[in-house]
């Protein structure tokens, strides 16, 4: 790798000569404004925003496509560059409508930000702007406004290069240029909504999130997508205690800048759904009735005690965190003393690609197995447990949050159980058979960790408050409304459910059965996992951080990206 020495704004930098000025500058914290350049896309060089002065070159050059060379002296902030940027901004704004009040991008708009930073603040353009179609549905999830488009071609390049489908293209010339789909095509690839994130203006917007909230009204919490075993790093947008939007968060080891449409749309709505389990419930005369936590826990404890050890089975969950599964398997093995413990795998063979999507549709199947949710020697696996219920050998079942009854052949045998307790966040086919439903906190309501298919431990952080949590006291991300709402204000609060993290529920049941698990918080549970489980050795929440940390590799488990 031949290195060259260059000077950017007086700073001497050594860099690989294959790289461009904008990349080198970015790595050294020098910001060069840009619209069309994106670190994961090819260089297009059409927006002209990244113009910089290079000594001994007659004209300004664009930083995104100029390779560094030995002895190069670059100026990114001098008068000539600033003047050129002002001119570029003025041209870009000539045909850009003053739509900011109705535009969903406002508040996170590159054009808006750069207008404040790099433009003169007034326009000399008195003529009529070019009018183009607005409110076009480009695909099932993406809305397009042609007037707002600054023709940077990021979306076109994303579809071609990342999603691998040619769906978008420009037509016409000059200021009549317009983005459109190819005839008969729709922008409907499984990654289509990433164009919304990379669009530097509000031309492409999220149809699902359309007009739901302004970005500055939401709090954003770093967490992990629940859609599949990839575990894309995401941000959850919450306003009024309701999850409204998921956006990808950069992590080059896992998902780059992207996430799929399934993850973005289908993995958060259950948090606010009407059918949320709002409090623990007990079946009385065939109907589930809301009761207090003490009553529900006492009932589960007394019922589980009344069966023989071999008659009880337990199911962990690949949707629950490592902390939940760890406490659960300890409870099952140490308190219940049963050997019949397993969890259900949800693998859809063939439903994966080489971009992000994985065939394992659960976020934490590796973690659940790793912390020890597996049959003890001589115990029953999942299939054997179902067979056991059918034969009447298993009379009581205790399961973490997973819709077990949706697995083919399970719903038929569940009525044979004498006692069935399940953790659930929403009403589903499993809760219909349950004697006790324990209201479980969703991924957006608890601290925890999950292990993705690369055996990488990643953190979940709470974004939505339950009754037992408080935004300010429990270290949540807070929006302005969350910070300043008074106790008697109705807004800024939103619905709160009486749900608890599964590990807390299990620990309470253990306490009711006479064994105390003493943990105050999820990170104490994690520290115990780090002590007891070989592959977690040396890890802590601090080490996992925002970007995750790899588990110690096992010889058997292949790591593939």
């Amino acid at each position: 790798m031949p290195t060259v020495k260059i000077t950017i704004d007086g700073t001497q930098i050594e860099a690989d000569n294959k790289r461009t000025i904008i990349e080198v500058a970015r790595e050294h914290g020098i910001k060069i404004p840009h619209f069309c350049w994106h670190p994961k896309l090819s260089v297009s060089g059409n927006c002209r925003m990244c113009l910089v002065e290079i000594e001994k070159m007659p004209k300004l050059a664009i930083a995104c496509s100029t390779q560094v060379a030995d002895g190069m002296v670059v100026h990114t902030k001098n008068e000539r560059v600033v003047h050129a940027r002002n001119a570029v901004m003025e041209f870009l704004l000539i045909n850009h409508p003053l739509d900011c009040p109705i535009c969903d991008e406002a508040g996170e708009c590159k054009l808006q930000d750069y207008t404040y930073k790099y433009s003169t603040g007034y326009s000399r353009f008195d003529e009529d702007k070019v009018h183009k179609p607005k409110r076009i549905q480009l695909g099932p999830h993406v809305m397009f406004d042609a007037e707002r488009c600054i023709l940077c071609s990021r979306c076109v390049r994303f579809c071609d290069e990342i999603a691998g489908v040619h769906q978008l293209q420009f037509i016409q010339r000059g200021d009549h240029t317009e983005l459109t789909t190819f005839p008969g095509e729709k922008l409907d690839n499984p990654y289509s909504m990433n164009v919304v994130d990379i669009c530097p203006v509000g031309a492409l917007t999220n149809a699902d999130f359309r007009f739901k909230a302004r970005v500055w009204e939401m709090s954003f919490t770093d967490t992990i997508c629940q859609g599949c075993a990839r575990g894309c790093n995401i941000e959850v947008g919450v306003r009024n205690n309701e999850t409204l939007r998921l956006t990808p968060r950069r992590n080059d080891d896992v998902n780059g800048y992207w996430m799929c449409d399934h993850g973005r749309l289908d993995t958060f709505k259950f948090v606010n759904a009407e059918n949320r389990i709002k409090a623990p419930m007990i079946r009385k005369d065939g109907v589930l009735v809301e009761v207090g936590w003490d009553e529900a826990i006492a009932r589960v404890a007394s019922e589980l005690k009344s069966f023989k050890k071999s008659e009880v089975a337990a199911l962990g969950s690949p949707f629950a965190t490592n902390e939940d599964n760890h406490i659960f398997q300890r409870f099952v093995k140490e308190v219940l003393g049963t050997k019949n413990v397993d969890f259900v795998r949800h693998i859809v063979e063939g439903d994966e690609d080489n971009i992000l999507l994985r065939s394992d549709k659960t976020p934490n199947s590796i973690g659940a197995a790793e912390v020890g949710v597996a049959p003890v020697e001589g115990g029953m696996s999942f299939d054997a447990i179902i067979e056991g219920i059918h034969e009447g050998k298993i009379k009581a079942l205790y399961a973490l949050e997973d819709d077990v009854a949706a697995v083919p052949g399970v719903a038929e045998v569940l009525p044979k159980l004498e006692f069935f307790a399940v953790h659930a966040a929403n009403e589903n086919s499993t809760t219909r058979y349950a004697d006790v439903v324990l209201a479980a906190a969703t991924f957006a309501e608890k601290n925890g960790t999950m292990v993705n298919f690369q055996r990488r431990v990643q953190r979940l952080r709470p974004a939505v408050t339950t009754l037992e949590l408080d935004r300010a006291m429990d270290g949540f991300e807070m929006s302005r409304w969350d910070k300043f709402a008074a106790h008697n204000d109705k807004w800024g609060k939103g619905p709160r459910r009486d749900a608890r993290a599964s590990w807390k529920i299990v620990a309470s049941i253990a306490a009711a059965m006479g064994t105390k698990f003493k943990y105050n918080s999820a990170d104490e549970v994690f520290n115990e996992i780090a002590q007891r489980v070989e592959s977690f050795k040396g890890l802590s929440y601090l080490k996992v951080g925002k970007k995750g940390a790899p588990l110690k590799a096992k010889a058997m488990a292949p790591v593939h990206a």
Binding site: L98, C100, P101, I102, F211, W216, E217, R480, W481, D489
Partner: protein
Amino acid sequence: MNSERSTIIRKKDLSLWERMYIPEIVKGMKLTIRQMFAPTFTTQYPDERFQPPASFRGRPVLVEENGVERCVACGLCSRVCPALAIEVQAGETELGKERYPEKFEINMIRCIFCGFCEEVCPEEAIIMSQEYELAFTKPQDALFGKDKLVVPIEKVQTRLNFLRANR
């Protein structure tokens, strides 16, 4: 200890003239009687009502033009409000403006009549009216929804003219 610092301002003993009282009372009565016949400044509310000038900042209202509110629910008033009195929820409309306030609520207990919402509004949609009669018996009554906030443009024309003139 600090006797040197304290000084007696009022003389203990009144003068003879002062001790007579009567002349002073007469002086006072003269003023009183003169005031009885002087022109009055009191407004006989509620029979008479004060008509504020156009610069007056009464309760904020939403301007209705051609049967629809001008507001596009951009949320800037809500953001700028120092008292966090305004709550806006946007919705989509078939009209050209695309966006309208599905819900627009001002908590009049919180409102401090600063007029920032009016100043920040890009559509001249929320303005300070001349209405000042705001009394509630219940906190819930102080939550003004769109039903109370939206007023026809004719009723607020003076304020709009004032704003145009002083932009």
